[in-house]
Symmetry: C2
Subunit: 495 residues, 2 copies
């Protein structure tokens, strides 16, 4: 296990064989630049995380020769060079610099988001010294910034409902690994926990139960908790497929009836009904107002084309409208949906099927790649077509395996991809919910998602180098209350 190593590994770090100790009670953050509520809240938060209780027997401890401690770090000067932005965005500046010297400590960044990342790194530099039983920090300088702008984690709250408190814990853990996007796959076939103001019956009838609903206040709480940590929250309103739960509380005729003989066999949203588009417009408008991010995920994956092919009604519609196949119907559907997102001035994200099915995409659409086979050639194709890309193919965390499978998350080779216009925005670890609920989502996700976070942030491409650092990071998460499961096999954390 390492001691005081930062996760993900900083781009540039020089360390010196000199340490400073802390007087826990007197240490403070000294704001020497711009300031705002985000900064003050972060100071409070990190004061609680810097000096977590250690025990004599802890492996967290490191024994230093006494003469290596050269002084005391009384404060950290925190210099924010520009006024705070209110909400994080794709192009937020996360760069920061840390200098820890005998003469003092400084954290500097152009943006509040860089300051947040720097505070996390600073908190991770602190170790508990075995000999003097004191907290110390190594003299070091760090210049750090992410490789990719979009470093996300997808949670699926439809296949199993996740309590708000569980989502909050996930956000905390994300911030400990500098992940910056929570992709909230909030609804799907199985349940509709999103409580709509315009259409309350959607969750009244489509949620698993009254105790399995996200109210407006719940969602605001999640968004604010995330914002405080520089994490964007992007909701996914997946359609036209994956919408069976909409059928329970939505407007009549919303879903396609796939069969003329079985009236209870429903499929994707019926793209031939004009009222359905008004319904979706109202829903997306409301969602777009509640969630503060500029991006909105529209889904578009795994549309049940058999259903559309088998519906006489839809086949008649296609004939009348000169639509030659069901992909044309999908195109027709998304023409309407992109009209809505354009009006809402939101940037759409869609799953890869829309690109593969040759749907007409607005120029600003982001395509998220999820299928594992041959994904890098598809990434290249999307980039060459001028669209921005997110990658998830390598990082389906719900597919569990025995052992240290986090190492495989480093084997996501993007080095051959030619990306002159920076269209590869980053990627997302996905925690689909078929077999995941509040009982296992935290240990299943951590520290495995931390590996994805490092691949997306740092220049490290070699998991053997990461192994011992991940061990430390796992124990650090446990000390902070995240039930992170063992990373590498037998071992012990005191916390």
């Amino acid at each position: 296990m390492t001691h005081g190593q930062v996760w993900p590994k900083p781009v540039i770090q020089n360390s010196y064989n000199v340490y400073l100790e802390f007087e826990q009670e007197n240490f403070y953050f000294n704001s020497t630049g711009y300031s705002c509520d985000l900064l003050h809240e972060a100071f409070k938060r990190y004061k609680g995380l810097l000096f977590l209780k250690a025990k004599k027997t802890s492996q967290w401890l490191r024994r230093l020769p006494k003469n290596k401690i050269a002084g005391t770090l009384e404060k950290l000067n925190v210099k924010l060079l520009s006024p705070c932005e209110d909400y994080p965005s794709l192009n937020m500046d996360e760069k920061y610099e840390i200098k820890i010297r005998k003469s003092g400590g400084t954290l500097m960044a152009k943006s509040i988001w860089g300051i947040l990342r720097g505070l996390e790194s600073f908190s991770q530099l602190i170790i508990f010294e075995k000999y003097c039983l004191t907290f110390v920090i190594r003299c070091t300088s760090i210049t750090d910034y992410p490789k990719f702008r979009h470093r996300g984690l997808l949670l699926d709250t439809s296949r199993h409902y996740l309590p708000v408190q569980t989502i909050i814990s996930m956000l905390d853990a994300m911030s400990y690994s500098k992940l910056n996007v929570f992709h909230w796959h909030i609804i799907d076939d199985n349940s509709f926990p999103y409580q709509s103001k315009a259409f309350p019956s959607l969750s009244d009838k489509g949620a698993y139960g009254q105790s399995a609903i996200y109210s407006t206040n719940d969602i605001k709480l999640v968004i604010e908790h995330a914002r405080q940590r520089g994490i964007r929250v992007i909701p996914e309103i997946d359609s036209p497929g994956h919408t069976l739960s909409w059928g329970l509380g939505g407007i009549p005729g919303l879903l396609t009836q796939c069969s003329d003989t079985d009236p209870n066999y429903f499929g994707p949203i019926d793209p031939t009904v004009d009222e359905n588009y008004s319904f979706i417009k109202t829903l997306l408008t409301e969602v777009n107002e509640l969630f503060r991010d500029q991006y909105l995920h529209l889904g578009g994956d795994e549309v049940n084309m058999n259903c559309w092919n088998n519906s006489k009604k839809l086949q008649t519609f296609m004939t009348l409208n000169n639509i030659s196949n069901v992909e044309g119907l999908e195109d027709y559907y998304f023409k309407h949906i992109f009209n809505i997102t354009r009006e809402l001035k939101t940037v759409p994200i869609v799953w890869e099927e829309l690109f593969s099915d040759n749907i007409h995409l607005d120029h600003n659409v982001v395509v998220q790649i999820w299928k594992p086979n041959n994904f890098s050639s598809l990434v290249q194709e999307v980039i060459d077509s001028g669209y921005a890309v997110l990658i998830s193919s390598c990082w389906y965390l719900n597919y569990i395996k025995y052992g240290s499978d986090w190492s495989s998350f480093y084997n996501c080779d993007l080095s051959d991809i030619v990306d002159r216009n920076n269209l590869l925005l980053g990627g997302e670890a996905c925690v689909w919910g078929e077999f995941v609920d509040e009982t296992n989502v935290l240990p299943l996700s951590w520290p495995r998602a931390s590996a994805v976070a490092e691949v997306l942030w740092s220049q490290v491409t070699n998991y053997t180098e990461a192994r011992l650092r991940l061990e430390e990071h796992t124990c650090r998460m446990k000390r902070r209350g995240v039930p992170a499961q063992p990373a590498n096999g037998p071992g012990f954390c005191t916390y």
Copy 2:
């Protein structure tokens, strides 16, 4: 999901389409036979489990026509036909009978252990009725007893330390599935958390830390908690391999030095040193006094024969003593160990290697089979040689897989085994600790271990029949505070 089905499935159950309701506050257990502390404690415990809070929206609920409720069940008459035994054993009688009739409810058993199993079943029969918002029970009669006497779960507290509270939760969950043996693999190469009175330095130096030790009181607490639930606790003192952690605090010369050139390369216990046998005798005597079970697991798996082969000292010893190979050395070692267990009047359990290596076994030794390949022919061989057998080959729960892998635990075909003398005692689910600690052991083990419990108890051999019942059982465990992970995919429990 089923409603009010018992897990594991009873051998004989007849249900009638008539229900009785409860007045929660007034319901009581009425002891009409023998009684003892175990019975009274069980009454208290189950009073807390019978009527767990339900919500209107719960899937636990079932809507019954009002006229199906034919009366009230005021009490359960509990008739224990013999005085209580103090501690459970291999041959304890777990048979019980339940009769729920309009005229009253009865639970009857010859032994307190049967009463405990019956109370668990009774508690599982109770459901919350949606229409009247009341707890009800279906009129039913059950005659039930286990297929196998030994239905265990192995926990490994050496590769990762498990807090006592976690073990307690595991015992609770075991009792909800009628498992009756906690096989405590308490020490191993990685750490020595068992605090020995005779040799405190074993854990002082061999445990992961002061906070990763099981004191005598901790162990007594675990044993008593288990006893109250009719669960035996069998400790495993694995030797001569898997003992590296003993080397840190044991007597000098305890472990074999495998190499003449590398003084830090240690292997199994050195079988040539007489003092080692006195040391082990003191240790086993102490363990045997503390743990109350008649059985003691001696391990014996995966002995590093290369080490013994490479040690000049051992090779010389073998020449002097006419021992022709290292299996002979192993035999020499276990001759001493069996002398000890014979003196202690304890029944030894050993891993399959001792049988395969043709070690001389005492007639009463139990052989535990763990390797997966061709295990049933080895089982047959052991039985044919007159030894009792435990099976774990099919049930290594630590080997996780995506999805409903519990179904594979039913595919442990023992039907071809000829066992005229009832030597197949049962089996154990194993939760080895390489990647398991307190963060994930509960969701990883439940409901997967419940599937093993059913295979060992009931006549059910078909997992499709078990599917919906396991769904109910999982939700029941969650209501009772066991974080059991999803069994079958998307779904929801209210609790």
